[in-house]
Amino acid sequence: MKVNMAVDLGGLVLTNPVLTASGCAASGRELDRIFDITTLGAMITKSIMLEPRQGRPTPRMAETPSGMLNSIGLQGPGIDRFINEDLVWLAERGVPTIASIAGTHVHEYAELTRRLRSAPGVVALEVNISCPNHDDRDHVFACYPEPAAKVIEAVRRSAPFDLPIFAKLSPDVTDIVEIAHAVVDAGADGLTLINTVLGLAIDPKTLRPVLSAVTGGLSGPAIRPIALRCIHQVRAALPKIPIIGVGGVTSGQDALTFLAAGANAISVGTWVFSDPNAPARVSQELAQELKARGVSDVNEVVNLAHAEYPLESDAVVSLNE
């Protein structure tokens, strides 16, 4: 049996639901030394800002139980070099690219979007709104519905009408469904759930924060239950919105549970560090899992964890015993 792995994220058709996560696969060159990255559905590139950026001082990472904290601070070459070097390489390599953009003012997001209009190989934008909002008291855009919506509106206005826009949400909010509604109303075509969870590690020797930035973003299997919960909540509230699920995916089985929770595609982030081959393996394992259940189309398992979307669930559950 051949399993259909192609997914349609609201018009954006990818041959495979397994993607890389922003910031965990750079722009593809390094990963291509491990496995053939053209087998992925798409590369989501590290969030790019307008100007070159050095990021935060080191230490920038701390291992935590089943997870890690990072405070890279969006080190990167700036949009121009990103387009000329990274996007050109990715386009030549034939990998669909979802370009992640980040800024600290709304107008930066708009400008980034304009610059990317004619960039090669970009099939969608992912808008990383988990950045401090310098327009408004340094709160993070993703934490309040209005600033989040403003960014997405600006990006939507500046993007070609047929370029899908994914808003990447932070789990560090009281009501993620409220933020999801706000960005979708503002023009997001899809959502990426979730960014890292704000955390802190303290060195038991020095009793000081391990990270020079004090706090950092928690990622990896430790946050998988949080990611699944966010996806499940948002899917229940927005039955039709395409969702890219991310947070602690390590295996085809994990991917399957993300799809069941409501994701239409899955990004592998931190686990790339643990197993550089992970994205390729997850995709193979997912296909095997589906085959073993007699499911011929990956889209059939999407939403199965919701009582109210038991699409073909009998087939899946019975074949699975």
């Binding site: 910031g23 030394r33 491990i34 050095q54 299997p221 560090f273 643990s274 550089p276």
Partner: protein, 278 residues
């Protein structure tokens, strides 16, 4: 439109479930010999590997980096690499407890190795603690080029000086240094370095060890006007260039320091490239 995967090229990083062929204690350290044919075949001195640690369900999710200490490459299937493990936190403790026949997932070779001189010159190789590990693979290559090799091996205490016996074969001469004086000269490797440079008319210094030691060596090397390469150690999450955790300030041709990934641009740098005081 797809070009053939770059992963098939010579830059390929191998990831192998390597069998532990042998383990031995060396002072405070454990040396593991791993069957890792493809890595052994491609490795250059100064490069490193990363190992997964822990059993199924482990909470230690990140790989640990280790310099390649030795390589045997038969040309056939039997290539092996040796790594020197200093038990420190949970991951290195786990690795140091591996026994024969156990499997360890190894990825490599990673990073840029040491540049070796074209001419058969005198070289001083300076190692602190387990930082001495990569110097022995390097010494093999230098010796094959006819270089004269002086080793300076240091450590806080005698059990932390790595490679005492091996250095007899690997180097033309060796100076041992301990901070507490339990072995060799009492003091630090920098206390004996200038003397070694002068004595052997050294044209190249290679150093690996704690950052403080490398900074001090760099200063001496610059003063002595001897070319010096250092293998640095920065905390690494991925080891192959995708996470940006391992950066350190490296000066470009314009002398401006920029944060550069130690895992792909290094771990070996020319000592004058590193902006030690940032």
């Amino acid at each position: 439109m797809n070009t053939p995967s770059a992963s098939l090229g010579k830059n390929r990083i191998h990831q192998i479930d390597a069998e532990v062929l042998a383990t031995r204690r060396a002072g405070a350290y454990t040396v593991l010999t791993l069957s890792a044919n493809q890595i052994a075949a491609a490795a250059k001195p100064g490069q490193f590997v990363t190992c997964s640690v822990g059993e199924v369900g482990t909470g230690l999710i990140l790989r640990r980096a280790f310099s390649i200490h030795d390589v045997t490459s038969t040309g056939g299937q039997g290539g092996t690499i040796d790594v020197v493990v200093a038990p420190h936190g949970g991951g290195t403790q786990w690795l140091a407890q591996r026994r024969r026949y156990d499997k360890v997932n190894v990825s490599g070779p990673l990073g840029q190795g040491f540049k070796v001189p074209r001419e058969p010159v005198s070289c001083v190789l300076v190692g602190g603690g387990y930082g001495s590990a990569p110097l022995f693979f390097l010494a093999k290559v230098l010796a094959a080029r006819g270089c004269r090799i002086e080793m300076i091996l240091g450590g806080a205490t005698a059990d932390k000086v790595f490679g005492i016996l091996e250095s007899r074969r690997a180097a033309n001469s060796t100076t041992l240094v301990t901070e507490d004086g339990t072995l060799g000269v009492t003091g630090r490797v920098t206390d004996v370095l200038v003397d070694s440079i002068n004595r052997f008319d050294a044209k190249a210094i290679y150093a690996c060890g704690p950052m403080g030691m490398l900074a001090a060596i760099s200063e001496l090397a610059v003063d002595a006007e001897v070319a010096c390469q250092v293998a640095v150690e920065e905390a690494m999450a991925c080891g192959f260039g995708v996470c940006m955790t391992c950066v350190l300030p490296i000066k470009g041709d314009d002398e401006v320091p920029r944060l550069v990934r130690a895992c792909v641009a290094g771990p070996v740098f020319a000592c004058e490239q590193v902006a030690w005081h940032l």
